[in-house]
Amino acid sequence: MEANRISLVVLSDKREQLQMAAMIASVGAVSGADVLVFLSMNALRYFVKGAERRAPPEGPMGALMEQKKVLAFQDLFASAVELGGAKVHPCSMAIDVLEIKDGQLEDFIGEPMGLTQFLDVASQGQVWSF
């Protein structure tokens, strides 16, 4: 197993989950890991341009992060890409179900990815799920 590859499956629509995923992606990427983020299910809608960017809190920590204006998880994922070369891809199934068209997702997000490709990459290192 390659310890320097981190794959994240991001499904949640809760602020705490999305924030932690973005923190691991960004710090992992700038620390030399090959980071792959796979966005699917209820998480994906927060990455559509012009859509609501604020995810609801799961508990008091999420509310506090909102109150203290902690950096948005979308911006952290963007930093992971820009500063650390992370790859962020939407799940092709979620793209189809949500009827998301080309160009509608944030610019730092790559092409839709299927599970076969994701699982192939994920088999080569750590996998985190949020």
Partner: protein, 76 residues
């Protein structure tokens, strides 16, 4: 003589100050120093760990009035 850049990350929470440092690191020359101002205590310990991991030079930290001044040097 090496330049010194100040990154004011006060008010930003982990990993915000680290990410601001890394963005600044890409803008300075090898040998230059960067001083990060952070009101986030966690970042004051996170930054030296990152510096050690990636091989830059950690020059030290001081805390003044709730603000950590973390100074590093780009080495590569």
């Amino acid at each position: 003589m090496a330049d010194r850049k100040v990154v004011d990350a006060r008010g930003s929470f982990c990993p915000g100050p680290l990410m601001e440092l890394i963005a600044a690191m890409k803008m300075v020359e090898v040998g230059d120093e960067i001083e990060v101002l952070s009101s986030d205590k966690g970042s004051a310990s996170e930054i030296p760990q990152w510096i050690k991991k990636v091989g830059h030079e950690y020059l030290g930290s001081v805390e003044e009035g709730g603000v950590w001044h973390v100074t590093v040097r780009r080495t590569k």
